[in-house]
C-alpha cells in the first residue's frame, strides 16, 4: 500500500510540470492582518504552480485539534492543515491518512538548511511529518529603546538574569515598570519553559519537555533554580498583571510605561502594527545569559492516502513553503523568522536577523513543548506553575511534589 503510494508519488513528481491543476483545501487558524498577508505569499506561490487555494479558517489551538478531526470524520478532510501537535499526526496515521515527508525533504536537500530545533519539531516518532513555515522564539526580551535610554540601562549588555534584576531598582527610580508581565496561565507556562531553557539548558529542558520526559529532572537543582527564578519574576510583576492579555502587556512597553517584556517574539507584530521599527524604536535580545532558547515552529501537515495528482499538488505546496525566497517574504509579512538559515537576509529586520544568528548554534535551541510533548503532561505543568505563580505562599517543594505526582498519574 505504502509502496504503491510512494511509487505514484515519484511518478507524479517526475510529471509535475505536466501535472493538472488541483484544488487544495487549506485549513488554518490565521485571520489577523499580518497573518493573512503572509498566507497570501503562500497562495501566490501555490498558484504559480498552477493550483488553486480553497480556504477554511477555524480558530483552534487546543493541542488536540477537534475541528480538524471532525472534518476528517465527516469525510471532508482538508488537504493541507496548520497543525503542530504530534498527537494529531498520530491520529491521522492511525486512520491511514498520515503522509510522511522524510523522503521528500531528504531528496530536495532541504533538511540541512533548517536549525536543529526545527528538525526536531517537525519529526513525529522518527518520521518527518510537518512542513515548517515560521519560527518564533518563546522567550525574547523586547525593550523600548527610549525608556532604556531614559533609565540609563542597556538590556543588550546584560549577560545574566542577576545582572538584569540588579538594574531594576534604577529603572523603577526613573519611573518605569522594569518588566511587563501578562499573568495568564499560558503566558506563565510559556515563561516557564523559556526560563527552563535559559537557566537549565537543553539537557534539563528535554528531560522536562522532551518527547519522553525524564522523571529524574523533576526533583533536581535545575528545577529549583527554574522555580525560584519564576518566583522572582512573579514578584516583579506589576499590579495590573493578573489575567492581562499579552497584547495589552506589549502595549505597556510600546507606550513607554514599562521597559520590557519577556514573551514569545510574535509580539513584534504589535510593535510593527504601532509603526515602530526594530533596531531603532525597540530592541530584542534573548533572555539574559540564556543557555538555550525554545523555538516555536508553526507547521503545516498534508493529507495522505490521496490520488497521485492530489498528492503531487500537496507536495507542490510543501515545496512552496520550503522555498527560501518565499520563506523570507512570508516572514517579512507575518513578523516571524524564516525556518531556513539560508533565507535571503535583505528582507529581514533586526530582530529576525538576531534570531537566525542565535539559531546558527545547533546546541543553543530546543523545540517548543507543543510540537513534541504529550498534551496532558504539558497542561499539568501549566497548572502547577500557574498555581505556584498565583499563590506566593506555595513553596518550591510543593510545586515539585505536585509535578512529581502528575508525572506518576500521566506518564508513570
Amino acid at each position: 500500500m505504502l509502496k504503491s503510494i510512494l511509487g505514484g508519488v515519484t511518478a507524479a513528481l517526475m510529471l509535475s510540470s505536466a501535472a493538472s491543476a488541483t484544488d487544495l483545501i487549506i485549513y488554518h487558524n490565521w485571520s489577523s492582518g499580518p497573518e493573512v498577508a503572509a498566507l497570501n505569499v503562500l497562495k501566490a506561490g501555490l498558484e504559480a504552480k498552477g493550483h488553486t487555494w480553497t480556504d477554511i479558517a477555524i480558530p483552534h489551538d487546543t493541542g488536540s485539534n477537534v475541528n480538524l478531526m471532525n472534518l476528517v470524520t465527516g469525510g471532508t478532510p482538508p488537504n493541507v492543515f496548520l497543525e503542530s501537535s504530534p498527537g494529531v499526526y498520530r491520529d491521522l496515521i492511525g486512520l491511514g491518512l498520515g503522509r510522511p515527508l522524510t523522503e521528500f525533504f531528504t531528496e530536495q536537500g532541504i533538511l540541512e538548511h533548517y536549525p536543529t530545533s526545527v528538525v526536531s519539531s517537525i519529526t513525529v516518532d522518527g518520521e518527518i511529518m510537518k512542513i515548517p513555515t515560521a519560527i518564533h522564539i518563546d522567550g525574547m526580551a523586547y525593550y523600548n529603546m527610549d525608556v532604556a535610554k531614559a533609565a540609563g540601562v542597556d538590556p543588550a549588555s546584560w549577560n545574566s538574569l542577576d545582572a538584569m534584576f540588579a538594574d531594576f531598582q534604577k529603572i523603577r527610580d526613573a519611573g518605569y515598570i522594569p518588566i511587563a508581565i501578562g499573568g495568564q496561565q499560558w503566558q506563565v507556562g510559556y515563561l516557564t519553559h523559556a526560563l527552563a531553557a535559559a537557566t537549565g539548558g537543553p539537557e534539563f529542558y528535554n528531560g522536562l519537555y522532551g518527547a519522553e520526559p525524564d522523571p529524574s529532572v523533576i526533583d533536581s537543582a535545575d528545577m529549583r533554580t527554574l522555580l525560584e527564578t519564576l518566583r522572582r519574576f512573579q514578584q516583579e510583576a506589576d499590579e495590573g498583571s493578573v489575567n492581562r492579555e499579552w497584547n495589552v502587556t506589549t502595549n505597556m512597553v510600546i507606550t513607554g510605561k514599562a521597559l520590557m517584556q519577556i514573551h514569545g517574539d510574535w509580539m513584534k507584530g504589535e510593535w510593527t502594527a504601532a509603526g515602530k521599527v526594530a533596531g531603532t524604536d525597540f530592541g530584542c535580545v534573548q533572555i539574559p545569559g540564556a543557555k538555550a532558547v525554545p523555538v516555536t515552529v508553526d507547521s503545516w501537515g498534508i493529507l495522505g492516502g490521496q490520488p497521485a495528482d492530489v498528492d503531487a499538488a500537496e507536495l507542490d505546496f510543501a515545496a512552496v513553503v520550503a522555498d527560501p525566497q518565499i520563506q523570507a517574504d512570508f516572514s517579512a509579512a507575518k513578523g516571524s523568522t524564516p525556518t531556513r538559515l539560508d533565507a535571503p537576509a535583505e528582507v529581514l529586520d533586526a530582530c529576525s536577523t538576531e534570531v537566525l544568528h542565535i539559531l546558527e548554534d545547533a546546541d543553543h535551541q530546543v523545540p517548543n513543548p507543543h510540537s513534541t510533548v504529550d498534551a496532558d503532561w504539558q497542561n499539568s505543568i501549566w497548572d502547577v506553575v500557574f498555581n505556584f505563580w498565583s499563590d506566593p505562599s506555595m513553596s518550591v517543594d510543593d510545586a515539585i511534589a505536585q509535578i512529581q505526582e502528575n508525572y506518576d498519574i500521566i506518564l508513570g
Binding site: S32, A57, T73, N247, T255
Partner: protein, 311 residues
C-alpha cells in the same frame, strides 16, 4: 386577558373581605425614602451592568492609536466608523477578507429552516402527546426529558457520521437540521405542557365537530398557540444565532455561521489584535437577537405569564 381576570378577581375579593383592603391604600402612599433608596440602588446596579457595554460601544468608535494608550473609559478623541465598516465588509476569516456579512447571511440561512423545522415538529409532537391518546406517551415523555439533558459533545461523533451518510455534512442544512433535532426534547416538552392546559371541553367539542387530527391542529390548536410560539421563537432564535459549537462542527467549508467568523476574528493567539474591530464585530453579531427582543420582548413576557397563571 387572563391578567385582567386575575385583577378583577382580586378586586372582587378585596371588596368582599375588609382584611385585604391595605393593598389599595399602599398604592397612594407616594414616594417614600424607601422607594428612593430602592430606585437609587437599582439605577446603580443598572449602571454597573452597563459599564462593559459602554466600554464595548465606545471602543468600537476609537482609533487603535487611542486604544493603545489604555484609558478604556475615555470617549473617542476622533469618532470613527472605520471599525464597523471593517468588521462588516473587510474582516478576515482566514484568507477571505469579506467581512462578517458572509457569516451573517449564513446565520440567516441556518436560522429560518431550523426554526420552521424545530417548531413545527415540536408543535405537532407536543399536541399529540398532550391531547391525544398516544400509546407509550408517558414513557416517550420521560425519554424526551432524559434527552434534554444529554450534552451535545457526547453525541457529536455519531451525529457527524449521520450527517455524512445523509450527505449534508458541511452544509448550511446540516447545521440547521442538527439545531432542530437538538432542540426537539425541550421544545416538545414546552408545547406539551402548554397544550395540556387546554380545557377538555374545547377538545371534546372539536372531536365531535371533525375528529381529524390535522384539522383540529390547524384550526384550533395553532390559532391558540400565539403566546407560546413567541416564547419558543425567542428561545430558538437566541440559541441558534448565538451557537458556535454546532456551526463550527457541522458547517464545514461553506456553512459557517457568523459566530465562527467572529471567533476567527477575535481568537488570535500570536497575531496582532485590533480591539476596535473586535468590539464592532461583537456588537454586530449581538444585534440581531437584541432586535428580536426589542420587537417581541413584550409578547415574550405575556407568553410566559400566560403559561404561569393557570385557569
Amino acid at each position: 386577558m387572563s391578567q385582567f381576570s386575575v385583577s378583577e378577581r382580586a378586586a372582587a375579593s378585596g371588596a368582599m373581605s375588609q382584611t385585604r383592603a391595605p393593598y389599595f391604600v399602599r398604592k397612594k402612599k407616594g414616594i417614600t425614602p424607601r422607594t428612593i433608596a430602592i430606585l437609587v440602588f437599582l439605577s446603580i446596579c443598572a449602571l454597573f451592568f452597563c459599564v462593559p457595554l459602554y466600554v464595548v460601544v465606545v471602543t468600537s468608535f476609537k482609533t487603535m492609536d487611542q486604544i493603545r494608550e489604555g484609558a478604556i473609559f475615555s470617549l473617542p478623541t476622533i469618532w470613527t466608523l472605520e471599525a464597523w465598516d471593517h468588521a462588516w465588509n473587510q474582516a478576515c476569516s482566514g484568507i477571505k477578507c469579506e467581512g462578517l456579512k458572509v457569516g451573517f447571511w449564513n446565520s440567516v440561512f441556518i436560522l429560518f429552516p431550523s426554526l420552521i423545522l424545530s417548531i413545527s415538529l415540536a408543535m405537532v409532537t407536543g399536541f399529540a402527546l398532550a391531547l391525544w391518546n398516544v400509546r407509550w406517551a408517558g414513557a416517550f415523555l420521560f425519554l424526551l426529558f432524559i434527552c434534554a439533558f444529554v450534552p451535545f459533545q457526547i453525541i457529536m461523533y455519531p451525529l457527524i457520521v449521520m450527517t455524512t451518510t445523509t450527505k449534508i455534512y458541511g452544509t448550511l442544512w446540516a447545521v440547521a437540521v442538527i439545531h432542530a433535532v437538538l432542540a426537539m426534547p425541550v421544545l416538545t416538552l414546552i408545547f406539551r405542557n402548554y397544550y395540556k392546559d387546554i380545557p377538555t371541553e374545547i377538545m371534546s367539542a372539536a372531536m365531535m365537530d371533525s375528529g381529524s387530527f390535522w384539522r383540529i391542529f390547524f384550526e384550533i390548536i395553532v390559532p391558540m398557540s400565539g403566546n407560546i410560539l413567541i416564547v419558543v421563537l425567542i428561545l430558538q432564535i437566541t440559541s441558534i444565532w448565538n451557537d458556535y459549537l454546532i456551526g463550527v462542527t457541522f458547517g464545514g467549508l461553506s456553512g459557517q455561521p457568523m459566530t465562527v467568523n467572529l471567533a476567527n476574528l477575535i481568537t488570535i493567539s500570536t497575531g496582532t489584535t485590533n480591539y476596535a474591530h473586535n468590539m464592532a464585530a461583537a456588537l454586530l453579531t449581538a444585534i440581531p437577537p437584541l432586535v428580536v427582543y426589542f420587537l417581541v420582548g413584550k409578547l415574550f413576557v405575556q407568553g410566559v405569564t400566560a403559561g404561569a397563571i393557570k385557569g
